[in-house]
Symmetry: C2
Subunit: 171 residues, 2 copies
Protein backbone atom coordinates (compact mmCIF):
# COMPACT_ATOMS: atom_id res chain seq x y z
CA UNK A 1 0.00 0.00 0.00
CA UNK A 2 1.10 3.60 -0.53
CA UNK A 3 1.41 5.77 2.57
CA UNK A 4 2.29 9.38 3.27
CA UNK A 5 2.59 11.77 6.23
CA UNK A 6 1.13 15.28 6.22
CA UNK A 7 0.12 18.27 8.32
CA UNK A 8 -3.25 19.85 7.50
CA UNK A 9 -3.19 23.65 7.94
CA UNK A 10 -6.05 25.45 9.73
CA UNK A 11 -9.47 25.40 8.08
CA UNK A 12 -9.23 29.08 6.96
CA UNK A 13 -5.92 28.40 5.20
CA UNK A 14 -7.21 25.14 3.66
CA UNK A 15 -10.23 27.06 2.33
CA UNK A 16 -8.00 29.79 0.88
CA UNK A 17 -5.71 27.22 -0.76
CA UNK A 18 -8.67 25.28 -2.20
CA UNK A 19 -9.87 28.47 -3.88
CA UNK A 20 -6.76 28.22 -6.07
CA UNK A 21 -6.49 24.43 -6.24
CA UNK A 22 -9.98 24.13 -7.67
CA UNK A 23 -8.65 25.81 -10.80
CA UNK A 24 -4.98 24.88 -10.81
CA UNK A 25 -4.46 21.52 -9.07
CA UNK A 26 -5.67 18.21 -10.58
CA UNK A 27 -5.22 16.62 -7.11
CA UNK A 28 -7.88 18.95 -5.71
CA UNK A 29 -10.42 16.15 -5.16
CA UNK A 30 -7.91 13.56 -3.91
CA UNK A 31 -6.69 15.18 -0.67
CA UNK A 32 -7.36 18.37 1.30
CA UNK A 33 -4.59 21.03 1.39
CA UNK A 34 -1.52 19.90 3.31
CA UNK A 35 2.20 20.17 4.05
CA UNK A 36 3.90 16.90 3.08
CA UNK A 37 6.25 15.60 5.77
CA UNK A 38 6.89 12.30 4.02
CA UNK A 39 6.18 11.77 0.32
CA UNK A 40 4.18 8.73 -0.81
CA UNK A 41 6.10 5.52 0.00
CA UNK A 42 5.35 1.82 -0.27
CA UNK A 43 4.96 -0.34 2.82
CA UNK A 44 3.40 -3.72 3.47
CA UNK A 45 -0.01 -3.71 5.13
CA UNK A 46 1.40 -5.67 8.07
CA UNK A 47 4.17 -3.10 8.65
CA UNK A 48 1.81 -0.22 9.23
CA UNK A 49 1.30 -0.81 12.96
CA UNK A 50 5.05 -0.65 13.47
CA UNK A 51 5.32 2.50 11.36
CA UNK A 52 2.53 4.07 13.39
CA UNK A 53 4.39 3.20 16.58
CA UNK A 54 7.52 4.95 15.28
CA UNK A 55 5.51 7.99 14.26
CA UNK A 56 3.90 8.06 17.70
CA UNK A 57 7.35 8.24 19.26
CA UNK A 58 8.40 11.04 16.88
CA UNK A 59 5.24 12.99 17.75
CA UNK A 60 5.93 12.56 21.47
CA UNK A 61 9.40 14.06 21.06
CA UNK A 62 8.13 17.30 19.47
CA UNK A 63 6.05 20.07 20.97
CA UNK A 64 3.23 21.93 19.19
CA UNK A 65 4.72 24.80 17.17
CA UNK A 66 3.86 27.70 14.90
CA UNK A 67 4.98 28.17 11.32
CA UNK A 68 4.81 31.10 8.99
CA UNK A 69 3.43 31.16 5.45
CA UNK A 70 5.03 34.07 3.65
CA UNK A 71 4.63 34.08 -0.12
CA UNK A 72 3.76 32.36 -3.37
CA UNK A 73 6.67 30.49 -4.99
CA UNK A 74 7.25 27.94 -7.75
CA UNK A 75 9.46 24.87 -8.17
CA UNK A 76 9.92 25.76 -11.83
CA UNK A 77 12.14 24.71 -13.68
CA UNK A 78 12.20 21.41 -11.68
CA UNK A 79 8.45 21.18 -12.13
CA UNK A 80 5.52 23.53 -12.60
CA UNK A 81 4.31 23.41 -9.01
CA UNK A 82 3.10 26.70 -7.52
CA UNK A 83 2.91 26.80 -3.73
CA UNK A 84 2.63 28.80 -0.56
CA UNK A 85 6.10 28.88 0.94
CA UNK A 86 6.47 27.83 4.57
CA UNK A 87 9.39 29.69 6.14
CA UNK A 88 12.32 27.66 7.52
CA UNK A 89 11.18 26.03 10.73
CA UNK A 90 13.25 23.92 13.09
CA UNK A 91 10.35 21.68 14.24
CA UNK A 92 9.31 20.89 10.67
CA UNK A 93 12.94 20.13 9.82
CA UNK A 94 13.28 17.87 12.83
CA UNK A 95 10.01 16.00 12.09
CA UNK A 96 11.15 15.51 8.51
CA UNK A 97 14.59 14.32 9.56
CA UNK A 98 13.20 11.77 12.04
CA UNK A 99 10.92 10.33 9.32
CA UNK A 100 13.82 9.90 6.92
CA UNK A 101 16.15 7.62 8.81
CA UNK A 102 16.90 4.01 7.81
CA UNK A 103 14.01 3.06 10.16
CA UNK A 104 11.54 4.18 7.50
CA UNK A 105 10.93 3.04 3.94
CA UNK A 106 10.80 5.69 1.23
CA UNK A 107 13.40 7.98 -0.34
CA UNK A 108 12.80 11.64 -1.09
CA UNK A 109 13.69 12.74 -4.59
CA UNK A 110 14.27 16.37 -3.50
CA UNK A 111 15.55 18.36 -0.52
CA UNK A 112 12.88 19.28 2.05
CA UNK A 113 11.16 22.54 1.10
CA UNK A 114 8.05 22.74 3.29
CA UNK A 115 5.16 24.06 1.21
CA UNK A 116 1.44 23.96 0.53
CA UNK A 117 0.72 23.23 -3.13
CA UNK A 118 -1.79 25.55 -4.81
CA UNK A 119 -1.24 24.47 -8.44
CA UNK A 120 0.51 21.69 -10.33
CA UNK A 121 0.75 19.89 -13.70
CA UNK A 122 0.29 23.24 -15.43
CA UNK A 123 1.52 23.77 -18.97
CA UNK A 124 4.47 26.16 -19.26
CA UNK A 125 2.21 28.94 -20.53
CA UNK A 126 -0.39 28.40 -17.83
CA UNK A 127 2.36 28.28 -15.22
CA UNK A 128 3.79 31.63 -16.35
CA UNK A 129 0.36 33.28 -16.38
CA UNK A 130 -0.83 31.91 -13.06
CA UNK A 131 2.48 32.34 -11.26
CA UNK A 132 2.78 35.88 -12.57
CA UNK A 133 -0.60 36.89 -11.23
CA UNK A 134 -0.34 34.98 -7.92
CA UNK A 135 3.02 36.50 -7.05
CA UNK A 136 1.21 39.80 -6.53
CA UNK A 137 -0.88 38.19 -3.78
CA UNK A 138 0.38 39.22 -0.39
CA UNK A 139 0.31 36.46 2.18
CA UNK A 140 1.49 36.63 5.78
CA UNK A 141 -0.07 33.93 7.98
CA UNK A 142 1.07 32.36 11.21
CA UNK A 143 -0.29 28.86 11.68
CA UNK A 144 -0.30 26.53 14.68
CA UNK A 145 0.47 22.83 14.30
CA UNK A 146 -0.13 20.33 17.08
CA UNK A 147 -0.56 17.10 15.09
CA UNK A 148 0.31 15.21 11.92
CA UNK A 149 -1.41 12.36 10.08
CA UNK A 150 -0.44 9.08 8.44
CA UNK A 151 -2.52 8.48 5.29
CA UNK A 152 -2.88 5.69 2.75
CA UNK A 153 -3.89 5.93 -0.88
CA UNK A 154 -6.92 4.24 -2.43
CA UNK A 155 -6.96 2.83 -5.95
CA UNK A 156 -8.68 5.95 -7.28
CA UNK A 157 -5.82 8.12 -6.03
CA UNK A 158 -7.63 9.63 -3.04
CA UNK A 159 -6.16 9.51 0.48
CA UNK A 160 -7.72 8.17 3.69
CA UNK A 161 -6.32 9.04 7.13
CA UNK A 162 -5.01 6.00 8.98
CA UNK A 163 -4.01 7.74 12.18
CA UNK A 164 -3.45 11.11 13.83
CA UNK A 165 -0.42 11.76 16.03
CA UNK A 166 -0.56 14.54 18.61
CA UNK A 167 2.67 16.41 19.24
CA UNK A 168 4.03 16.38 22.77
CA UNK A 169 1.82 13.50 23.99
CA UNK A 170 3.29 10.40 25.60
CA UNK A 171 3.94 7.63 23.09
CA UNK B 1 -17.58 24.62 12.02
CA UNK B 2 -19.27 21.42 10.87
CA UNK B 3 -17.97 18.16 12.36
CA UNK B 4 -18.74 14.48 11.91
CA UNK B 5 -17.53 11.10 13.20
CA UNK B 6 -16.88 8.13 10.92
CA UNK B 7 -15.26 4.72 10.57
CA UNK B 8 -13.33 4.08 7.36
CA UNK B 9 -13.65 0.45 6.16
CA UNK B 10 -10.58 -1.48 4.98
CA UNK B 11 -8.87 -0.30 1.81
CA UNK B 12 -10.24 -3.20 -0.30
CA UNK B 13 -13.81 -2.36 0.73
CA UNK B 14 -13.25 1.39 0.19
CA UNK B 15 -11.94 0.60 -3.30
CA UNK B 16 -14.95 -1.59 -4.05
CA UNK B 17 -17.38 1.07 -2.82
CA UNK B 18 -15.63 3.81 -4.80
CA UNK B 19 -16.16 1.77 -7.97
CA UNK B 20 -19.89 2.44 -7.51
CA UNK B 21 -19.65 5.90 -5.94
CA UNK B 22 -17.71 7.23 -8.92
CA UNK B 23 -20.87 6.77 -10.96
CA UNK B 24 -23.64 7.12 -8.39
CA UNK B 25 -22.52 9.38 -5.54
CA UNK B 26 -22.02 13.14 -6.00
CA UNK B 27 -20.07 13.14 -2.69
CA UNK B 28 -17.47 10.83 -4.24
CA UNK B 29 -14.74 13.50 -4.26
CA UNK B 30 -15.59 15.00 -0.84
CA UNK B 31 -14.84 12.08 1.48
CA UNK B 32 -13.60 8.50 1.17
CA UNK B 33 -16.11 5.64 1.83
CA UNK B 34 -17.21 5.49 5.47
CA UNK B 35 -19.74 4.41 8.08
CA UNK B 36 -21.19 7.51 9.75
CA UNK B 37 -21.25 7.28 13.55
CA UNK B 38 -22.33 10.88 14.03
CA UNK B 39 -23.90 12.94 11.25
CA UNK B 40 -22.58 16.43 10.48
CA UNK B 41 -23.16 18.74 13.46
CA UNK B 42 -22.20 22.31 14.31
CA UNK B 43 -19.75 23.09 17.09
CA UNK B 44 -17.66 26.12 17.95
CA UNK B 45 -13.97 25.94 17.05
CA UNK B 46 -13.03 26.34 20.72
CA UNK B 47 -15.23 23.37 21.76
CA UNK B 48 -13.42 20.88 19.61
CA UNK B 49 -10.69 20.00 22.11
CA UNK B 50 -13.37 19.12 24.64
CA UNK B 51 -15.31 17.05 22.09
CA UNK B 52 -12.11 15.22 21.19
CA UNK B 53 -11.54 14.48 24.87
CA UNK B 54 -15.04 12.97 25.16
CA UNK B 55 -14.50 10.89 22.02
CA UNK B 56 -11.17 9.69 23.42
CA UNK B 57 -12.99 8.43 26.49
CA UNK B 58 -15.63 6.68 24.36
CA UNK B 59 -12.89 5.00 22.29
CA UNK B 60 -11.15 3.82 25.44
CA UNK B 61 -14.34 2.13 26.65
CA UNK B 62 -14.76 0.00 23.51
CA UNK B 63 -12.61 -2.81 22.18
CA UNK B 64 -11.71 -3.39 18.51
CA UNK B 65 -14.49 -5.38 16.86
CA UNK B 66 -15.61 -6.99 13.62
CA UNK B 67 -18.70 -6.13 11.61
CA UNK B 68 -20.38 -7.83 8.73
CA UNK B 69 -21.41 -6.28 5.42
CA UNK B 70 -24.16 -8.41 3.95
CA UNK B 71 -26.12 -6.85 1.11
CA UNK B 72 -27.14 -3.87 -0.98
CA UNK B 73 -30.13 -1.94 0.39
CA UNK B 74 -31.87 1.39 -0.16
CA UNK B 75 -33.44 4.04 2.10
CA UNK B 76 -36.13 4.63 -0.51
CA UNK B 77 -38.82 6.02 -0.07
CA UNK B 78 -37.20 8.20 2.68
CA UNK B 79 -34.48 9.10 0.23
CA UNK B 80 -32.80 7.58 -2.80
CA UNK B 81 -29.67 6.41 -0.99
CA UNK B 82 -28.29 3.01 -1.99
CA UNK B 83 -25.88 1.43 0.48
CA UNK B 84 -24.05 -1.62 1.71
CA UNK B 85 -25.90 -2.79 4.79
CA UNK B 86 -23.87 -3.34 7.95
CA UNK B 87 -25.50 -6.08 10.04
CA UNK B 88 -26.69 -5.19 13.58
CA UNK B 89 -23.64 -4.84 15.77
CA UNK B 90 -23.55 -4.15 19.49
CA UNK B 91 -20.27 -2.19 19.45
CA UNK B 92 -21.48 0.09 16.65
CA UNK B 93 -24.73 0.61 18.55
CA UNK B 94 -22.87 1.42 21.73
CA UNK B 95 -20.49 3.87 20.02
CA UNK B 96 -23.45 5.59 18.41
CA UNK B 97 -25.37 5.76 21.69
CA UNK B 98 -22.42 7.28 23.57
CA UNK B 99 -22.05 9.98 20.91
CA UNK B 100 -25.71 10.94 21.14
CA UNK B 101 -26.09 11.91 24.77
CA UNK B 102 -26.76 15.47 25.96
CA UNK B 103 -22.95 15.81 26.22
CA UNK B 104 -22.75 16.20 22.47
CA UNK B 105 -24.24 18.75 20.09
CA UNK B 106 -26.14 17.44 17.08
CA UNK B 107 -29.44 15.63 16.63
CA UNK B 108 -29.94 12.68 14.29
CA UNK B 109 -32.92 12.96 11.96
CA UNK B 110 -33.23 9.17 11.61
CA UNK B 111 -32.72 6.01 13.65
CA UNK B 112 -29.22 4.50 13.46
CA UNK B 113 -28.88 2.19 10.46
CA UNK B 114 -25.16 1.56 10.05
CA UNK B 115 -24.31 1.61 6.35
CA UNK B 116 -21.77 2.50 3.69
CA UNK B 117 -23.30 4.71 1.01
CA UNK B 118 -22.65 3.66 -2.58
CA UNK B 119 -25.12 5.99 -4.35
CA UNK B 120 -27.24 9.04 -3.49
CA UNK B 121 -29.18 11.97 -4.97
CA UNK B 122 -30.33 9.70 -7.77
CA UNK B 123 -33.49 10.47 -9.70
CA UNK B 124 -36.34 8.01 -9.09
CA UNK B 125 -35.72 6.32 -12.44
CA UNK B 126 -31.97 6.09 -11.90
CA UNK B 127 -32.56 4.77 -8.41
CA UNK B 128 -34.82 1.99 -9.68
CA UNK B 129 -32.39 0.99 -12.40
CA UNK B 130 -29.26 1.06 -10.27
CA UNK B 131 -30.85 -0.53 -7.22
CA UNK B 132 -32.38 -3.25 -9.35
CA UNK B 133 -29.05 -4.21 -10.85
CA UNK B 134 -27.01 -3.85 -7.64
CA UNK B 135 -29.34 -6.05 -5.62
CA UNK B 136 -28.07 -8.98 -7.68
CA UNK B 137 -24.54 -8.33 -6.37
CA UNK B 138 -23.66 -10.79 -3.68
CA UNK B 139 -21.67 -9.33 -0.84
CA UNK B 140 -20.46 -11.07 2.30
CA UNK B 141 -17.54 -9.31 3.97
CA UNK B 142 -16.28 -9.34 7.52
CA UNK B 143 -14.43 -6.16 8.43
CA UNK B 144 -12.30 -5.25 11.43
CA UNK B 145 -12.60 -1.85 13.11
CA UNK B 146 -10.10 -0.61 15.68
CA UNK B 147 -10.50 3.18 15.34
CA UNK B 148 -12.81 6.03 14.40
CA UNK B 149 -12.16 9.58 13.25
CA UNK B 150 -13.44 13.07 14.00
CA UNK B 151 -13.61 15.17 10.81
CA UNK B 152 -14.45 18.77 9.94
CA UNK B 153 -15.87 20.13 6.73
CA UNK B 154 -14.17 22.71 4.51
CA UNK B 155 -16.06 25.42 2.61
CA UNK B 156 -15.94 23.36 -0.61
CA UNK B 157 -17.76 20.49 1.11
CA UNK B 158 -14.74 18.18 1.50
CA UNK B 159 -13.78 16.68 4.87
CA UNK B 160 -10.44 16.83 6.70
CA UNK B 161 -9.60 14.47 9.57
CA UNK B 162 -9.09 16.29 12.86
CA UNK B 163 -8.21 13.29 14.98
CA UNK B 164 -8.13 9.50 15.11
CA UNK B 165 -9.30 7.60 18.20
CA UNK B 166 -8.03 4.07 18.79
CA UNK B 167 -10.48 1.67 20.42
CA UNK B 168 -9.42 0.11 23.71
CA UNK B 169 -6.55 2.54 24.37
CA UNK B 170 -6.29 4.50 27.61
CA UNK B 171 -7.91 7.92 27.35
Amino acid sequence: MKYGVVIFPSKPLQDKVNGYRKRYDPHYALITPHITLKSPFDAEDQDIQQLAEKLRRIAALHQPFTYHVSKVKSFEPVNNVIYFKVDPNSTLDSLYKEMHTEDFPGKEPYAFVPHITIGQQLSNDEHSDVYGSLQMESIDLTEKADRFHLLYQLDNGSWTVYETFLLGKDA
